[in-house]
Point group: D2
Chain length 329, copies 4
């Protein structure tokens, strides 16, 4: 890649990151810097306009200064509620768009929901993809093969107890996210299925089973770490089904997938996944009543497989590039 003649660069597709100083934006800029076929052309920032983009021969520009019609793919990394406008403008200007906010995940403007491992063919060469939320990514990838195999007892709710590092809440200045508040604390939030991700999870599960979503309870917690999500799931399963069988189903389902890692034994910890574009999944048997409960733990980096890494997978698919380009395994 370093020895290609300059002219070749002219034809490299150009990417723009809108909202490049947030946590997911920073991560995308970093990944794009090492992408063999995409070129970071523009990185926007309201607060740091004019300053240098770390690791890139660029300066941050105001979003209004990006020539959207000269960009091949736009990554919209703005806060929820602010992203839709720019995703629509970028589309109108002809750019492909990966929207990393929650704004388009219900399908607004024809956006396709992008979990490559589940619905790759629907993403390929699409112009507008809604990148999944961090929590849903781990949940859907863990449950899909079991649901498709008909092994989940859908008469009882799946309990999903999740914990996320603070970068999952964005880089906006909020008192609740100050070091002085978060360190040495741990708390549930958005309980009673009040979290923004609940309809997204429900809709993803419904699509997986091609019917009514199985019941679930989702309780996110705020963890005093910078990055990483751990999801501990209590799955009611049919009698006779156990952790070994679950492992086998997932191992087969994801045999060709570089970004899902099914543990042969033991359960993944945050540390197994942070810094990597991967969802690690493990299973354990626990005692239950009237059938069985299966314990499933998924660990992943909320900024990589939970955001920027998956966004790049989607962009690669949309542009017809190799899906793994620029995404270290």
């Amino acid at each position: 890649m370093y020895n290609l003649p300059v002219m070749v660069n002219i034809s490299r597709p150009t990417a723009a990151v809108i909202g490049a100083t947030g946590y997911t934006g920073q991560e995308l800029v970093r990944l794009l810097g090492a992408h063999p076929r995409l070129r970071l052309g523009f990185a926007t920032s309201e607060s740091e306009t004019g300053q240098r983009v770390p690791g890139a021969a660029l300066r941050y520009v105001d979003v209004a200064a990006v020539p959207l019609d000269a960009v091949d793919v736009v990554f919209t990394c703005l806060p929820h509620g602010e992203a839709e406008t720019w995703s629509v403008r970028a589309r109108q200007a002809g750019a492909r768009v990966v929207d990393l906010s929650s704004d388009l995940r219900a399908g607004a403007h024809g956006a396709v929901y992008g979990v490559p491992e589940l619905w790759r063919d629907c993403i390929r060469e699409q112009p507008l993809v809604a990148n999944p939320g961090c929590y849903p990514t781990g949940i859907l990838l863990s449950l899909a093969p079991l649901l498709r195999a008909g092994q989940v007892d859908t008469n009882q709710p799946i309990m999903i107890d999740a914990a996320s590092g603070v970068t999952g809440a964005g880089r906006g200045a909020k008192r609740d996210l100050l070091f002085g508040e978060v360190a040495e604390d741990y708390r549930a939030y958005g309980v009673g299925n009040a979290h923004r991700h609940v309809p997204e999870i429900a809709s993803g599960l419904a699509r997986i089973v091609a019917g009514a979503a199985p019941p679930f309870v989702f309780t996110p917690h705020l963890l005093p770490v910078r990055r990483g999500i751990l999801e501990t799931m209590y799955i009611p399963v049919e009698a006779g089904f156990d952790a070994g069988a679950a492992r086998q189903i997932l191992s087969e389902a994801y045999a060709a997938e570089p970004y899902v890692e099914v543990f042969d034994e033991g359960l993944p910890a945050l540390r197994d996944a942070v810094g990597r574009n991967v969802v690690c999944v493990g299973f354990a048997d626990v005692a239950g009543v009237g059938g069985r409960t299966l314990l499933c733990v998924a660990a992943f980096d909320n900024l990589l497989k939970g955001a920027a890494g998956q966004a790049l997978q989607n962009a690669n698919l949309m542009l017809g590039l190799p899906e793994t380009d620029g995404i270290p395994a």
Copy 2:
């Protein structure tokens, strides 16, 4: 208290803390330093023999040097497996004993299991009490009133997802507990009901219902904080029962208890409880299927209400002192 004539001190009961440099031992030493009626006479340490006990006019002694027959109450704060021997010797020498390890919790040597709020009358004036484990304390106090009220659907398991700060694992030098391992990590451990506390929880629940323990799944996690436990419980309840009703039952059950705090609204966070001898309990409604699932969160300080604070409650009861002596609310 500081101006009392010396002779009065002669009649103040004397306490010994065996294993006074572990985390729970340190906490007991600190609490005893402000106890109006108990006097810390001896604090033992293998590693720091001869050094000064912080905040006390004492030096650490070897455990063999403690005149057990001159001590009124012994707190055994040794690691699991090492405590039983010394608790038995102290009893033989005539001292009352609160054993903070798990060694006697199944009732060995006639030890009484000591959760004051549940079984106060069985503890009062007893000579030998097994102090409850940290995790069980929060679980039993949260569930007891609901179970006694017959509101828990015992046909399905209660899911107990718990997270503990690292001091809960003791102060022994273990690689897994190094800062370099724990910081920025989060993981489940002792899953599949493999944790030492599972039989203790089961036995406590059985005693509460005076019958077979309701089924439950217990998954502890290691949290990168120094102290505090948060337990997120998914309780299957009878149709029509909700968070408001649960709050009312617990509020009534614990109306006279200074060390259980039922939240009127919202759920407790670690920070609400750390540094205090209290279990904070809150409830929230969540959607379920075939009846309802109730979300219950308990937060408490593993070293206070989960260990040293509760041990002092027990000791006060055993010695006929006011239960709250030396325990700030």
Copy 3:
């Protein structure tokens, strides 16, 4: 105190905390809750007006709603720049005022600078006291006895390398103080004597020597902990002077002081001081050139001896109460 007849309460002086939801305000509220002779009458908050004050039978009120003329002592805990107005109003209404901001530390409005251990007689029964900054408190208390004893070589600068926990920067929502920014980081800031505390330190040192302040370099750093300040000072001293002599001078100077702890050996760590209203000071010899360099380390809790605890010492002096009232040693 709990059994006194109601009428006695009428004569207990009433305190108001303006800005009671910031970190120092919270700490003052907590301390006042256990003060034997002062009564917390009002706690103000812009963001939480109407909500309950934790641990007090009060609700937060808007600052404009405080009847300043009915208050005996006002603690102004507002951000720098916002405090002066309210301190002046409170004075005009006749209340005594302890201003915890930096607004009055240069003596505006006749404010007296309040380090009780150094200038107790100037504080006693004064109406308006500027509470010292956190960094200066440890520096002035450590250096004063050595400077007064003429043992510091003032031809070379004292190097002061300081590190503070994040609560020292207040509870305002700033991006730089987010957990995601501070955790796993450490950095110098306000260098080149650019920090707000530099003139305050210089003025304090000048007052101590009753002449020109000795030269010094002050470099604060932001530490990924919630509370606590550690100051490592490199003091040029006269030949023949060493750590032992320094210890003796400070021990004698502070023999009667409950809130300064001179270490007999070793150097204090953050943990020795956090949670206590004390400055811990230790000394060590290090090799130097042309005379000697003395290493001095001071550790203290920025919210207690560095703010709220010292403010209460000052208030007690101003009101003619015992200086240690409400301040656990």
Copy 4:
């Protein structure tokens, strides 16, 4: 590299990492996994023999099982005191050796001290190199150009106030390094020039000036972060010399160096350097007396440029490979 025929691999030099489960060993294994010309052949571990090496198609072996005569380069990552034996054996078997402990840094067995940027020509094609300590690396690289330019006033000591993350102390199970001890703490240790690195710094400085080392005081502190070192240096300089001049001298000295980054403005923070094989250096002017004091801050990752990254630079030089092979900038 992935498409080369198998035969080519035969001629790739083989590396062994002795002590591969410590923090520096882990980092070396990770780096070697992506090295284009070196092949990790053996990774030893006492505690994890037989288990899989993460990210490598290898299992840990006992150190005695490594065929040292079949290895081209051995990285000795054992604790201080345990490394020398194995470094000597590896040399006797004919392997090149980079010893990452402090055992050989004084030159035992003819070991060359390896800071590539300062003494590259002495390292090239050498058989035995002592990899520098983490603290000395940043100090020597920061000071060398200034000392060589004769701009340091060597009549007064340089004050070096340093702070290191806990992985710098190794992965052995020690109580002082438990999360419960380190979190929310900060402390000086090894003061009074008692630290193992002091003679190493002195010897390095002496070599730089080809004469007597300039006087210095070194005070390390333990920081509650996992990785990274920040060194705040107070450098007495000749009159008229300032931060701008220092920047220029270092910029010129390191113009061709990929692993030293001189800041144009501002001072580096831990976060600028962690995860990268680089020493970031910045300067600021501060007021002084009788000449000037220059403030210099160096930040680097103790496990990369402070250990494994620099070891790989050395190994590349020793083997005649491009120095940057396998070391991302």
